[in-house]
Amino acid sequence: MIIGFVLLAAILIGSALFVVTSSRPVHGIVALLLNFIALAVFYVHLNAEFLAVTQILVYSGAILVLFVFVIALLSSGVDRLHLTVDRLARLPIPSIALLAALFGLFLWALMGHRFLEPSFHAMAVGGTPAGIADAFGSVGSFGTALFTAHVLPFEVTALILVVAIVGVVALTNEESRR
């Protein structure tokens, strides 16, 4: 259990670091794929089977393919996608100060904040962590919750997706831009 957690955490952190430090976006995409798959494994470990499958389908199947298409579209013949000097090299002192401040914030949250203390659950509603049923995280329990108590967020999701589709078509349509 511990070994699995440490291994997954190492893969997640290592691939995330590779994504943000990669010089070419294609390399970053491969690392991002590894990150998403490791996250899906983590979700299975946390009893969220449906969301693990959704993670693979939507992120690895749709979003990453979109990234790959855009890179193929932009870098055809032109090799200018990785030529820029980044802020860390151009503005080293503000960048390092900002990173140090962020890391300090992270350490503060880790050490001092009470949501990370073991007694956190005793302070919140309910007292102790709830036991989970066998169906927790399955398609059945997820669908029941989504289509009964939380049907309004589900409908708003449909609106968001329609707006996204219309926006993308309007943005990239040559004739409508003139």
Partner: protein, 102 residues
């Protein structure tokens, strides 16, 4: 799920969010900045799902599902903007796209 495991998962989620944010603000390649945003959204999802497991409550799963949907919409629109800007100006540097600067 023990409290130690929850703490470790939340700490991992915070670290992933930090890495994604650093990528978003330090890189000037728009595609890698977008990947930083995706990392941040995934980190928040991890926290949602860890707390859902901790409380045995499905609402965290609903929220994570909505975040995934919004991430898909956001990625498609942002990539469309990158393509339009690249075709109009032939540049993919976030600092040079300053046409709206007052």
């Amino acid at each position: 799920m023990s409290a130690t495991e929850l703490n470790a998962t939340i700490a991992l989620s915070a670290l992933l969010l930090l890495i994604g944010f650093a990528g978003l603000i330090l890189r000037r390649n728009p595609l890698i900045a977008l990947m930083g945003i995706e990392l941040m959204l995934n980190a928040s999802n991890l926290a949602f799902i860890a707390f859902a497991r901790w409380w045995g409550n499905t609402v965290g799963h609903i929220f994570a599902f909505l975040v995934i949907t919004v991430a898909a919409a956001e990625a498609s629109i942002a990539l469309a903007i990158v393509v339009v800007v690249f075709h109009a100006r032939l540049q993919t540097d976030l600092d040079d796209v300053s046409g709206l600067k007052g």
